[in-house]
């Protein structure tokens, strides 16, 4: 049961001045407008001009209605899957749209007007926190009493041919190459993509690429080949690339920077998610950028706007990643006492930073690095810690129960923290947490707040990432036993990337806001939303 905000989703920005452009765009994007719908659009325009003095609430609803009514006869899910804020509106709209042929036009108009009025008055007092789908969701849901239609994100519907078709159509429209799956997938995970590292989507892009910016192509290649790995590294690389994109961007004539740039980013994001599925931290970063872009006032000059955006990105990186890790280190060092034996798993940039800082502060401790195939990321962590001069031991995860009686604390990094308190992290983390709990060793998870996401997951099957299965092939003494695994019909190789740890196994979560129990993640999310 997942709810996810796809950052790839189209934004409904409510700039009254360019509403007409939106309609034009919608027409250009090849949607069929029936005569009735065209008439309805004209009526909306008239009404819109009448309501020009009001706040942005109704136009947003109108626009969403228009978008809903347009694809309603065709496929409603093409409208960027998991498009949250209009989702409640969509539910009512698409239900209404289905009934619309039955009612007369006048009735429909009156109905619509009444609905707009009621929604306008209810939205009157509320603050417009950016015209962004994710942020307007908490405002929309108290209004709508209808059941909200949650749309599954595309990347977990690979076994649904209809969803695949929609994705293919969308990518074709955006001129982004579609990457095909590779190899036999284990049936439990057949709903996820499984790509091969030997065939990145960059092979299918011509040079010079027309739609995709070259630095995005480079970034996509770095992601798909695993050159840039790790949640923080990927987010920072993404943000730097976006800075480059914004630098090279020039507003076409008759377009607004705040609208056009967002539309330009959509194919890039689709491309990147074809190279490697987006992480939760990247998703939050993209949401932030889109919000900042759409908040640029229309009278801002291009150079000024670009400078502002670049400064925003810089401050985001600084605040959410660099300063956050400083704050987390400060709290974490309080928990490290002399004589501690600390266990870490894999390579988490944050945990390594904490340990280095603690070592600088003259704490006496030693570290046990646990590693696992096929990524063997622990070796990188080992290298960094030994370079600092910290005493380390290195074991594989199979020796975990042997080494745990010596351990006094376990420090784990996180890929994302879910809204129900579950920790999503590198595969193997939940195993470590489980065995540590059995030995009564405290487990501490270190995670910045920008990695908190609104998703809810209780198991590792429903949404995960499948890495290249060929990574599991081992060559020893010149023999690779699994080399021809594809010829054996009943054999499937499973290379999972993430797993999910329940909050009962985690004793403490250290974030930049302080030390909280795992069950308090929704409180932090609530506080963050209030701040924004």
């Amino acid at each position: 049961n997942i709810t996810d905000s796809d950052p790839d989703g189209r934004l409904t920005v409510t700039d009254k001045d360019v509403k007409l452009q939106e309609i034009a765009l919608a027409k250009n994007e090849g949607k069929e407008l029936t005569k009735e719908e065209k008439q309805r659009l004209r009526k909306e325009k008239k009404q819109h001009k009448k309501n020009k003095k009001d706040d942005k609430g109704p136009p947003e609803k109108e626009k969403e209605k228009e978008k809903a009514s347009v694809p309603a006869p065709s496929k409603p899910a093409t409208q960027s899957p998991a498009h949250k804020a209009p989702a409640p509106v969509h539910a009512s709209e698409s239900a209404a749209a289905a009934e619309k042929p039955a009612k007369s036009k006048a009735e429909l108009r009156a109905e619509r007007r009444a609905r707009q009025d009621s929604e306008r008055t209810s939205k009157q007092g509320k603050k417009e926190g950016g015209q962004q789908s994710a942020s307007s969701k908490p405002k929309a849901t108290p209004n709508e009493l209808q059941p909200v239609v949650k749309r599954l994100p595309e990347h977990v519907q690979v076994d649904d041919p209809a969803a695949l078709k929609k994705l293919a159509k969308k990518l074709e429209r955006q001129q982004v190459p579609l990457r095909s799956d590779y190899g036999y997938k284990v049936s439990l995970f057949s709903h996820l993509h499984q790509y091969s590292r030997k065939s990145p989507p960059t092979l299918q892009i011509s040079i010079p690429a027309t739609v995709i910016h070259p630095s995005i192509v480079r970034l996509g290649l770095q992601y798909s080949q695993g050159i840039i790995a790790g949640s923080n590294a990927r987010s920072v690389a993404l943000l730097h690339t976006f800075k480059q994109v914004i630098q090279d961007y020039s507003t076409p004539p008759n377009e607004e920077l705040s609208r056009d740039l967002v539309n330009k980013l959509s194919p890039y994001i689709s491309f990147l998610s074809q190279c490697r599925p987006l992480s939760a931290s990247m998703g939050n970063a993209i949401k932030y950028i889109k919000k900042e872009i759409s908040n640029i006032p229309s009278q801002c000059k291009e150079e000024e706007a670009k400078g502002k955006l670049q400064a925003c990105i810089d401050s985001y990186i600084n605040e959410k990643i660099i300063l956050a890790s400083e704050a987390i280190s400060k709290y974490a060092i309080e928990k490290i006492s002399d004589g501690d034996v600390i266990l870490v798993y894999g390579c988490s940039s944050l945990v390594n930073h904490i340990l280095c800082k603690a070592f600088e502060k003259q704490r006496k401790f030693r570290v046990i690095v646990v590693d696992s195939r096929p990524r063997l990321e622990g070796r990188e962590a080992l290298r960094r810690l030994v370079k600092k001069g910290i005493r380390c031991t290195y074991v594989l995860i199979s020796a975990l129960s042997y080494i745990l009686p010596e351990v006094s604390k376990v420090f784990l990094g996180a890929h994302a923290l879910l809204a129900n308190g579950y920790v999503m992290s590198r595969v193997g983390t939940s195993q470590i947490a489980l065995v540590a709990k059995a030995y009564n060793v405290p487990v501490l998870v270190c995670c910045e707040t920008y990695k908190f996401c609104e998703r809810v997951q209780t198991d590792s099957f429903v949404s995960n990432e499948l890495d290249d299965p060929d990574d599991l092939i081992v060559t020893r003494n010149g023999k690779s036993h699994l080399e021809n695994w594809q010829t054996v019909k009943s054999l499937g190789l499973l290379n999972l990337v993430y797993d999910v740890t329940p909050p009962d196994f985690v004793d403490l979560v250290i974030t930049d806001l302080g030390m909280i129990p795992c069950t308090s993640v929704p409180v932090v999310l609530r506080v963050k939303n209030v701040d924004q």
């Binding site: 928990k335 006492s337 604390k409 405290p442 501490l444 009962d504 004793d507 403490l508 030390m515 909280i516 129990p517 069950t519 308090s520 409180v523 506080v527």
Partner: protein
């Protein structure tokens, strides 16, 4: 000196008043008599006064109560140009805070006594004024119940609790600390007080509480904690060792003894997994809700 005056004020107080409440009262008095010229200076003096109070009475409640008091009085617009006006606002808020916390014990008592059914057998640990209030309320409600109190060495506080209960005509029996496992099958529920409630939802209380919690978990008996909200403290212990030394031992021992390993700690930490419910003046909370309340309190 002003600080010595406050020390006397606190000690000469009513034995029925919680030490944290007395500490806050003396802090308020200190605020009234303070002579500093700036708000920053005022806050500095207040923090120093709190530290001084902690030195005399090293309980967790004094530390948490002091910090909450300081936050509460400064959590208002201190934009007035005149310092004396600001001070008056702060003093007003301070009195409001004091009034609120003096009523908190009554609120807790009202909330908790409904969980005591007629004919219940209750186990409690050491001497807690809040638990006493709860049992008082239950008795006033014409409920019949028996109470088992642990002796709670080394200061035999349990015997004092038993005396107070006898005065209320509640049948009470004093048991050894070692007899907790033995008596657990007879009792229906366990109610204890707390010296401090920590961020994870666990509690810090007189030594022996953790044992009782583990036993009650093994016997599937509900383990209730009653505490006022000013005892919520910004600590997050991972285990018994992680509780700071300044809370574990009394103030005099901290000052005189060199090697703390030879001393017996006076408190222990009970993790939230062993606690069923917490009764506070903010309502009846589960241990995971404590963090939420703490975030609201400490903002």
């Amino acid at each position: 000196m002003i600080k010595d005056k406050t020390f006397e004020f606190k000690n000469g107080g009513d034995p029925d008043v919680a030490s944290a409440v007395a500490a806050i009262r003396s802090l308020l008095e200190f605020l009234r008599r303070d002579q500093s010229e700036t708000i920053l200076g005022l806050r500095e003096n207040m923090t120093q006064a709190i530290r001084r109070l902690e030195e005399t009475d090293s309980s967790v409640a004094v530390s948490s109560g002091g910090e909450l008091f300081l936050r509460f009085i400064s959590l208002t617009s201190l934009e007035h140009p005149d310092l004396s006006q600001c001070k008056n606002v702060m003093i007003e808020r301070g009195e409001l805070f004091l009034k609120k916390i003096s009523l908190s014990r009554g609120k807790v008592g009202k909330l908790c006594h409904t969980f005591i059914k007629d004919g219940a057998k209750i186990l409690t640990h050491s001497s807690s004024r809040v638990v006493l209030k709860v049992l008082e309320n239950a008795a006033a409600d014409n409920k019949r119940f028996t109470v088992y109190v642990t002796e709670s060495q080394p200061d035999s506080a349990g015997k004092r609790m038993a005396q107070k209960l006898r005065k209320l005509n509640i049948p009470v029996m004093v048991v050894l600390d070692a007899a907790v496992g033995y008596i657990m099958e007879k009792v229906d529920l366990v109610i204890v007080g707390a010296e401090g409630v920590v961020e994870s939802g666990g509690v810090i209380n007189k030594i022996g509480t953790y044992q009782m919690a583990v036993c009650s978990k093994a016997h599937n008996k509900p383990f209730y904690v009653v505490a006022e909200s000013f005892k919520f403290v910004r600590l997050y212990p991972l285990n018994q060792q992680d509780v700071p030394d300044r809370f574990k031992y009394t103030a005099d021992i901290l000052k005189t003894v060199k090697d703390l390993n030879q001393e017996h700690p006076m408190i222990d930490y009970t993790p939230p997994s062993l606690i069923t419910l917490l009764f506070t003046d903010l309502g009846v909370l589960t241990p995971s809700a404590v963090s939420d309340e703490l975030i609201k309190l400490y903002l």
